[in-house]
Assembly symmetry: C2
Homo-oligomer: 138 residues x 2
DNA sequence: CTAGTTGCAAAAGCTTTGCATGCAT
DNA sequence: ATGCATGCAAAGCTTTTGCAACTAG
């Protein structure tokens, strides 16, 4: 049995071609895609799929802890198949999102700050990415 | 002249009663209010004000660096009159937002990570706030 | 006086919902 | 066989836009 199918089954997810398709798109290059972007990609293989189905699949995966939702770009959510602790960087110029693997606050996990119990930290970094920096230095 | 009027004038902002009203609401207790919440509050003094005007005032203040927009609660923006570096905590139970004055990453400002130039970090902490913790321990 | 602001209504964009049809197990 | 997933259309929310009437300086 395929590994991806196994993983989904392990999470009690009923296998459908659409679900496998979304899963593969998310796995590909670990990108941070919007629902719309996933929709555009999956329509190549499933021309009749609807955006509502994409959202429902994403919500299912989120509830099963198979993906993370990030909102670094305020207007719309992006979906990230990496579920281990990491943070994100948004380039103000090209709007590309990068993973940031620093863990400056890992010591805070399940600790208290001002009496509040910290379960999780999402670090959103903003700036200019390496590619855009290189371009402007030409 | 009132201090608040002075501040707005210093930023080349034309004074209107609505603009003063929104500014006062934001200053009051340094809360993190949604546009809708500000709208509900200001309608007490200006019953004919529209939500579009509230948004336009908030956008003006944002452009003049008089406030920060935060999106810790994914669905909607909150507006914060504090513009110095700090982070935010969202209680998963009561949805209250608190300021977090830790600066774990201040050393990263204007430094590079993976070749990306960091201008700014927004830290979003999630967990259970002190009040909710106390309640569940009764 | 005149440019800039307000208020209203309508539109835009992302996301969710309801429901009939169809499919996985 | 049957409960669940899909696809479509419509609705829901937050936020933005266009425009005529008004107002601050």
């Amino acid at each position: 049995m395929e590994k991806r199918v196994e993983i989904l089954k392990k999470h009690n997810i009923r296998i459908t071609p659409q679900r496998l398709g979304v899963y593969e798109i998310l796995l590909d290059k670990n990108k941070h895609l919007t629902a719309e972007a996933i929709y555009r990609k999956i329509r190549v293989s499933f021309p009749t799929i609807s955006l509502a189905t994409v959202y429902s699949i994403l919500e299912l995966y989120y509830k099963k802890h198979l993906l993370n939702e990030i909102r670094i770009d305020f207007d719309k959510s992006c979906f990230d198949i990496r579920t281990d602790t990491h943070h994100h960087f948004l380039c103000k110029q090209c709007a590309e999102i990068y993973d940031i693997d620093l863990h400056p606050c890992s010591a805070l996990n399940n600790k208290e700050v001002d009496g509040h119990l910290i379960h999780e930290l999402q670090g959103y970094f903003y700036g200019i990415c390496s590619k855009c920096k290189d371009k402007s230095n030409l």
